[in-house]
Symmetry: C2
Subunit: 418 residues, 2 copies
């Protein structure tokens, strides 16, 4: 019962803080973000000490080196957190921005304006910088947050939270606009997914498959989920050979662990004999293993792909390769196996490009560019809290604007409805 009361109390305090944050002016939110960056810098030693304790415990627990790498901070990584906060302070404040305005025949003047969502619950796993990114982006958009990090990063996140709250205080804003759940009890996650008696408006989740499954099963409030990216790059028969090779190597190998990495290469039968060997060579040189269908393997040697490969989000130096008959088959493959995240076509044929862009039903569709551009920073959003894979409200990179909702402002002169 005590945990439940504590969590409910956090919800009540977040709701009250959200009203204050919403009604503050943009300059005050900016001042808080800049103060938060300074507090991260001045408390870097505390954050690093806490992180060292978390890392030592994780090592004692035998956690994987890749996990420890995501958890561990260095002075450079702490400075990167502060720099990220400064960058978020520089994003135009979206609150009260008018996105449409029109006049009705009866003289009613109707505007649609951005307004904060309210209270955002953020559930994340190992990377402690998510606490700062998420709390700050949400604040830029006028929201309060309740942050729940992974139990293995508890000490680090708590210390980051102290710095963020100090920044709010410096700007005269309520500290409760950013709260860190102070327990590793997993029941707290369940309570957040239930919405804390209506206090949480939306959940943002960032984590692995077990967290995703739990969120899907238990959430009673809307969720901006960050799910799998099984992204495709399709080399059309009218592709430029040099662009195709360069784009695919980058789309797969620049960073294999990001959700926008291409996982499957589709290539038209008409050009596979001439283009696939050089693409495959370039990938192999970069350290990538290939798994292909029979047609691809007849052109250049590679392992055989099975049905599971078409659905695989490798997040590794492996690429599935399939030869297709043309645009329709490529689009059908993407519709069947894709996750509606990001897909690209490489072609010099403008009509084929436009058809692909229209017919592929993914959050991001591209022509002649690397799928690794699927990123809020690259889109010019100044930061992101993740890439939403749902279809509603937020889709693709989630920046400050995506953390707002809207209201209609109607200005009349005494109109009554007939």
């Amino acid at each position: 019962m005590s945990l439940e009361n504590d969590m409910r109390d956090m919800g009540v305090r977040a709701r009250a803080a959200a009203a204050a944050i919403r009604n503050a002016d943009a300059a005050t939110r900016t001042a808080a973000l800049k103060a938060m960056a300074e507090h991260i810098r001045t408390s870097a030693l505390y954050i690093l000490d806490a992180n060292a304790e978390d890392v030592a415990a994780a090592k004692d627990a035998g956690l994987a080196p890749s996990f420890i790498d995501r958890l561990a901070l260095t002075p450079e990584r702490v400075e990167a957190i502060a720099t990220g906060l400064d960058a978020i302070a520089d994003i135009p404040d979206p609150v009260d921005a008018e996105t449409a305005r029109w006049m009705r025949p009866n003289g009613l003047d109707i505007a649609r304006v951005r307004t904060p969502i309210g209270v955002i619950g953020v559930i994340f796993e190992s990377r402690p910088n998510v606490a700062a990114d998420a709390g700050a982006l949400a604040l830029r958009a006028g929201n309060a947050t309740i942050l729940r990090g992974g139990s293995d990063s508890q000490m680090t996140v708590a210390n980051i939270g102290i710095a963020l709250r100090a920044g709010l205080r410096d700007a005269g804003l309520p500290e409760d606009a950013i709260q860190i759940v102070p327990t590793t009890d997993r029941a707290a996650v369940g309570m957040m997914l239930q919405g804390l008696d209506g206090a949480i408006d939306v959940i943002v989740s960032r984590g692995g498959k077990s967290l995703v499954a739990r969120v899907q099963a238990e959430a009673r409030v809307p969720v901006f989920a960050h799910l799998e990216g099984v992204c495709h790059t399709y080399v059309h028969k009218d592709a430029d050979a040099a662009k195709a090779a360069s784009i695919i190597v980058n789309a797969k190998m620049r960073r294999v662990s990001v959700c926008g990495a291409t996982e499957t290469l589709l290539i038209d039968r008409a050009v596979a004999p001439s283009l696939l060997p050089q693409i495959a060579d370039a990938l192999r040189v970069a350290g990538c293993a290939l798994r292909g269908d029979d047609a691809a393997r007849a052109i250049t040697p590679m392992d055989a792909a099975s049905e599971e490969d078409w659905r695989a989000e490798y997040l590794d130096s492996i690429l599935a390769v399939r030869v297709v008959e043309g645009l329709d088959e490529a689009i059908a493959h993407i519709a069947r196996y894709g996750t509606s995240h990001t897909e690209a076509i490489v072609t010099e044929d403008a009509a084929a490009a436009e058809s692909f862009l229209k017919r592929v039903d993914s959050a991001i569709v591209m022509v002649n560019a690397s799928t690794q551009f699927a990123d809020g920073g690259e889109f010019g959003f100044g930061g992101e809290i993740g890439i939403a894979t749902g279809r509603l409200h937020a889709r693709g990179p989630v920046g400050a604007e995506q953390l707002t909702t809207f209201k209609y402002v109607v200005r009349g002169t005494g109109q009554i409805r007939p």
Copy 2:
């Protein structure tokens, strides 16, 4: 098991139809909508016959006269359904509309374009015209629908469905873009709320408290809910007396059964002695009963309001009245008792108006206008499927644009990410 298989099959067929509807051009969707209107007209006698059976059964079952009134069709009401379809055909097609476009320093050209949500599940109660309105608005926005009406309107809705599907067929579109659940088994509603194995992208629900409670408890997919409207009109100390009386009588009494009807009048203490008597008289002449706090009752006689009255969505000729100290207290009352639907201020003070518009956190905020303007038609949306009371994606009147989502279209010339 058979119902489950049937429902799952509807989901599969809706998903396939959705892709065809999305990729059709706007003119084809328009042709289908116009053909649907014609089929409603030519099959009016069948629809009226079916409706007579539904009405007879409802009378036998002893259902309330107000329920029967919502259920019953007349030739004029059938023609109104057809006229509504023609009006929806005339709404600009939102699919593929560009809502933003910008260029990145690296030359990437990024556009955000509207795209259909996909498959919309609509769960509604007595009014059979909702089947036509919802199916048609969803189609205008490029979506497929699965419609589940109330069991008491089953025959009527089935016959409306036949006409809608005939219109799709005439335009060469798949009939399965509009499907009517062919059973009164309430288990079908539960299956829709579970999303039919991922086939349903969003649920739109229109109905009473028991349906709302079921949707809230069981939905595993996003919901555009149409909940309570406890709307407020606030008469500020600088209100124009004539506007105040005219707006309040209209906001309360034009139609008492709509969700945008004002349920509570707030009035500043400074002007209550001079304005409240004439407002109260005008309301009483229109047939409205008043329930007030002590301060209001000291000015003009009325019944005493209790705490429940501040939370009541009367949908009846009753108005709660409270005297407040000023803008802050009015806003605090709305924040505490309101449902974030629609609130209005009556004032000639521009600064007070702007403060109210900014600080009140409702879907629609108004100055010097009747809250009964909370309506998609009045907003110029050409129709609506309801007023969404959630905060995400769709908020306020839900028209065709609100039934779309978006994707990012990225046009490059070979860019790779550094």
